[in-house]
């Protein structure tokens, strides 16, 4: 007895209130979103017209929703539900955080408020999603005519750009290859501090984890297209800018894939190597690296494959490769020539997919 038990009681109380807070917060978000979706649907079906006399567009309706009121309303409803959960049954948030209580466990979803709420929430999401993205089945089915031109062009590829296309295709493949190859060593080094299971023990390791993860997520969040624009103004239009853009993005993407692989290794060999008195680097070399090399290779080949596809889009904005000559043809509506280039790209992607599948099969 004594202070240790007091401490335990306090910890338990703290844990309980934290769980209650999490449950209420989750409910507040769900209920708030529900209120917003209901308001959106009411507005959409009310037939209100804008200043131009036309029906309001989805963006205009989204703009005039009462977000602050929905937040307050969601919070109030969430508080009420979590306060009276014994009378009306656990809320979704409560069930998520604390589990479904025993006295509710045998009930079907139709017998609980939580079940009905979930069903309504899913329905509402689909209805408002349909309207927010302005899905229009009628137009889709009746106005194919214009697009038929393009499809016809694609089906009748013109030989005029075949020669130029093939040359730039070679450049595209090498562009993707260089970007991938230069990304490997950096991603390999960054992957270790980015793996949670290797960075739990010391403060330095935890700081390294946070820094590596933040860096990686930031770089990954920026689209390769944006990187391309940055590097084009840095080194000028051409394949070098494309290599740099794909390189930066590949470093982040490979680091993430590699580190996830490290997180899923068998810790047994690490323990065994550590028990011999080996140092941290030796534990990594013997206990971790042999386990992750085959999946690393497989991810890397997959990344090369992705980079070939991405370099087309990068080429659109001036990053070299086949995309560079594709863009003007699209703009001019030279659909036959576009068709040739698209076929070249599709063939390459297909071929790389087959080859990379074969290689991966062999290594793993």
């Amino acid at each position: 007895m004594g202070w240790k038990d007091d401490e335990k009681v306090r910890a338990a109380v703290w844990e309980k209130s934290l769980a209650r807070l999490q449950a209420t917060a989750l409910d507040a978000v769900l209920l708030g979103v529900t209120l917003l979706m209901v308001e959106f649907l009411v507005q959409a079906f009310s037939g209100r017209r804008g200043p131009t006399g036309l029906l309001l567009s989805a963006e205009q309706i989204l703009d005039l929703l009462h977000y602050a009121w929905a937040a307050v309303g969601g919070l109030v409803l969430a508080l009420l539900w979590n306060l009276f959960y014994r009378q009306v049954g656990s809320s979704l948030g409560r069930a998520w955080v604390r589990g479904v209580p025993e006295w509710e466990a045998p009930l079907e979803w139709t017998q609980t408020l939580r079940g009905w709420f979930t069903a309504v929430f899913i329905e509402l999401t689909f209805f408002s999603g349909w309207l927010i993205t302005e899905l229009d089945l009628f137009t889709f089915l009746t106005k194919f005519g214009k697009a038929a031109d393009i499809v016809r062009g694609l089906m009748h590829p013109s030989g005029a750009v075949l020669h130029e296309g093939l040359i730039l295709l070679v450049q595209t493949i090498f562009l993707a290859f260089m970007a991938t190859a230069f990304a490997i060593p950096i991603a390999f080094v960054l992957a270790f501090p980015s793996a949670r299971n290797l960075t739990r023990n010391t403060l330095t390791a935890r700081i390294a984890y946070t820094v590596a993860r933040t860096f990686m997520n930031f770089v990954r969040a920026v689209e390769p297209l944006v990187w391309a624009l940055i590097f084009i103004s840095w080194v000028g239009i051409g394949p070098f800018a494309g290599v740099l853009a794909l390189w930066v993005h590949s470093v982040a993407a490979l680091t993430k894939l590699y580190s996830e692989q490290i997180e899923s290794i068998d810790t047994g060999p690490m323990e065994a190597i550590a028990a011999t008195g080996a140092s941290a680097l030796q534990v990594l070399r013997y206990g971790v690296v042999p386990q992750v090399i085959p999946p690393f290779l497989s991810f890397t080949i997959y990344r090369w494959d992705i980079n070939v596809r991405m370099s087309t889009i990068i080429g659109f904005v001036g990053g070299g490769g086949i995309g560079y000559i594709l863009k003007p043809r699209v703009d001019l509506g030279e659909w036959g020539e576009v068709g040739t280039l698209v076929l070249l790209i599709a063939g390459t992607v297909w071929l790389m997919d087959v080859i990379s599948a074969k290689i991966r099969e062999r290594i793993v």
Binding site: G268, E271, A278, Q282, Y286
Partner: protein, 259 residues
């Protein structure tokens, strides 16, 4: 404390981050040269106890001495130096599956190997000879170039024993070394551990749950139940009432255990 004490554990306690208490107030001594068996149901804290001794797990309470030197609180090179004195053998063998058998045995020498060349998987010629000799001891010299995962379970555990031998330790910590093996192969592995104890004078601390093996190989035994030390004695003193004490009232000794 005299040199006759190979391992000393004092008031050891371990609470895992999730709040699970695995060990509580465990104190014991392992005498130099003995074969100490650790008994207990699964979940009684045997693995945690063994891992707290070489600090693969950091205990939350208590202290541990290895060969007269305190390992709890040791860091860096000092901790690694002490780990070298205590080789570990695992239930799941824990070999590096994609490395050859020989490289796995050589990894036992990592603690005394130069860092850079060891990172390139390169070892001095005399270490390689030692590794071949260690493999020969466990009867696997002809498999040195096979990949570790090409071997059967019993063979893999013998490679792990060769790795322990390569470490040239004074203690062996073995965590259920034969629990994943076919019963017919258990003695072939246990005999090699016994040889380390008898011929090399290494002190062995080995968790086992098969009473037959305990009485056959151990010179002394301790038992854990719910993380506490509940019994200490020699195999000859072990009887039905001890069995109940360790395994609980509901437990039945297997029919072939002789109780």
């Amino acid at each position: 404390m005299t040199v006759e004490t190979a391992i000393r554990v004092e008031n050891l306690g371990m609470v895992y981050p999730g709040g699970v208490r695995a060990l509580e107030g465990v104190s014991l001594e392992v005498h130099a040269g003995e074969f100490l068996a650790v008994l207990g149901l699964s979940g009684s804290g045997k693995s945690t106890l063994l891992r707290c001794i070489n600090r693969l797990i950091d205990p939350t309470e208590g202290r541990v001495w290895i060969l007269g030197e305190e390992i709890t609180g040791a860091r860096g090179a000092r901790l690694r130096g002490m780990r070298r004195q205590a080789a570990m053998i695992f239930q799941q063998f824990n070999l590096v599956k994609r490395h050859t058998v020989l490289t796995n045995v050589l990894s036992g020498a990592l603690g005394r190997s130069p860092l850079l060349s060891s990172l390139l998987l390169s070892f001095p010629a005399e270490e390689r000879q030692r590794a071949v000799a260690a493999l020969d001891r466990v009867g696997l010299a002809d498999r040195s170039t096979s990949r570790a995962d090409a071997l059967s379970g019993g063979q893999q555990q013998r490679v792990a024993i060769a790795r322990a031998l390569m470490q040239e330790p004074r203690l062996i910590l073995a965590d259920e070394p034969v629990a994943s093996l076919d019963p017919a192969l258990r003695h072939s592995v246990m005999r090699h551990i016994e040889a380390l104890n008898r011929d090399e004078g290494m002190t062995v601390m080995c968790s086992l749950h098969d009473i037959d093996l305990v009485t056959r190989y151990a010179t002394r035994m301790v038992a854990l139940r719910d993380g506490r030390l509940v019994w200490e004695g020699v195999p000859a003193e072990f009887d039905k009432s001890t069995f109940k004490e360790i395994y609980g009232e509901d437990a039945q000794p297997a029919s072939n255990t002789g109780f």
